[in-house]
């Protein structure tokens, strides 16, 4: 791996231009910038994008925020679309239509709606065929573009517009799907779960590894949404840190089948610390709902133990 020094990395030219229409404080764009910084200078890229906040905000005609070539096709087919682009690259290289010394990389971005749900088949196909590409899910845990409806990435008990909290409802009834594990089971070369951390080392290293590992790679990047999660825009880095320190969003990678835990908090914080910061969970702190918090904690613990087991059994 190359230099992970932030001061060096930040000197690279930006590959996502300002002037896009994402909300103030959006986590997705912070993540996208970090992923793109992992591209080596001199390498070209084609960026794919599923329909979603990122797409409608970064390429609103005639304004593209992408310095690289970019293709948005539809909501449910970002995996397939980029697999076509990547295959074209192979075909054109073979025919000598792209110069030998030119190096292209293929990265596609999709929200959890376009990735976990409507685009899941397309993603699964692209991963199974092992195209030389990276699929990055910016997971904000709901369909934010259409107005905060639940997705299969939404955590249990979250208040969304299709799982509203009411006198007979405590929010979403089901647990979230573990997409990183599902993609890892496709036996692709590299899968990682990551988010925004103060030094951006985790995200940078994983992005670089995913981009420069041959074959299909997948990053699941938690990217908080201030509107959907209901917190003050300035608090994003604190929320990401709490997600990691409560073990709600563990940082791990699966490198050629080997599960590796990248971070274990010295002191695992109670899940309340993460939930309390967000309006979508405020009903959990009402009197009489203590058992819901207990259940949430149990689910976090169960998943964390499961992850530790997966990582340990490799030793």
């Amino acid at each position: 791996m190359n230099n992970l020094n932030l001061k060096e990395i930040m000197n690279k030219p930006e590959r996502l231009a300002p002037g896009h229409r994402m909300c103030a404080g959006c986590g997705a764009t912070i993540g996208v910038r970090a992923v793109l910084r992992a591209l080596h200078e001199g390498d070209y890229a084609v960026i794919g994008n599923a329909t979603g906040c990122l797409e409608v905000s970064t390429y609103m005609y005639p304004y593209t925020a992408w310095e690289d070539s970019y293709i948005h096709n539809a909501f449910e087919n970002a995996g397939a679309t980029l697999s076509g682009v990547e295959t074209a690259y192979k075909a054109l290289k073979k025919k000598g239509k792209i110069p030998e010394d030119v190096n292209y990389k293929f990265i596609t971005f999709g929200g959890d709606g376009g990735t976990y749900d409507i685009g899941f088949q397309s993603l699964s196909g692209a991963m199974e065929r092992n195209h030389d590409m990276v699929y990055v899910c910016y997971d904000n845990g709901a369909y934010m573009n259409t107005g905060i409806q639940r997705s299969s990435a939404t955590p249990m008990y979250a208040d969304t517009t299709t799982t509203p909290v009411g006198s007979q409802s405590n929010g979403k009834m089901q647990n979230r799907k573990d997409l990183a594990a599902i993609i890892a089971e496709h036996d692709v070369p590299y899968v990682a779960q990551t988010t925004l951390t103060t030094d951006f080392k985790d995200l940078h290293r994983k992005s670089e590894k995913a981009i420069y590992t041959e074959g299909a790679c997948f990053l699941n990047m938690m990217a908080p949404c201030p509107r959907g999660w209901q917190y003050d825009t300035s608090e994003i880095m604190k929320i990401c840190k709490l997600a990691v320190d409560t073990c709600y969003w563990p940082l791990f990678e699966v490198d050629h089948g080997k599960w590796i835990l990248n971070y274990e908090p010295k002191k695992k914080l109670p899940i309340e610390d993460f939930l309390r910061e967000q309006g979508r969970f405020k009903h959990l702190f009402k009197k009489g709902n203590e058992d819901l918090l207990v259940q949430f904690q149990q689910e976090v613990d169960r998943r964390w133990e499961n992850l530790l087991y997966r990582c340990a059994r490799e030793d």
């Binding site: 231009a17 994402m22 912070i30």
Partner: protein, 100 residues
């Protein structure tokens, strides 16, 4: 056939729009000034800054330019005033003030 974004606006006749509304150019969004959305504004206090650069990567709007490992003044044409940078600065070198 490269596209000049300045020649496309909401009054452009259909014959002069690009084929399939493709843009034969990169990074044209710089011409759209999202700074107008701002309700709070970060102020850079250069004398307090230690150039740790923790602020630059957290900006969703690429509005903290970095050159030679040093940050420069905010890009107020595009900064939306979310305040993340002010929160992460360990040295109090970014202050939020109300208004634009």
């Amino acid at each position: 056939m490269r596209t000049d974004v300045n020649k496309i606006n909401e009054m452009t006749p259909h014959q002069e729009l690009t084929e399939g509304l493709m843009m034969f150019a990169g990074g044209t969004s710089k011409g759209f000034k999202t700074g107008e959305w701002r309700t709070n504004t970060p102020v850079f206090l250069e004398e307090k800054c230690k150039q740790c650069l923790l602020c630059a990567p957290v900006c969703p709007d690429c509005s903290i330019p970095v050159k030679d490992s040093k940050r420069a003044e905010f890009d107020y044409d595009h900064c939306k005033g979310c305040g993340i940078c002010a929160k992460v600065c360990p040295f109090g070198a970014i202050e939020m003030k109300e208004g634009r």
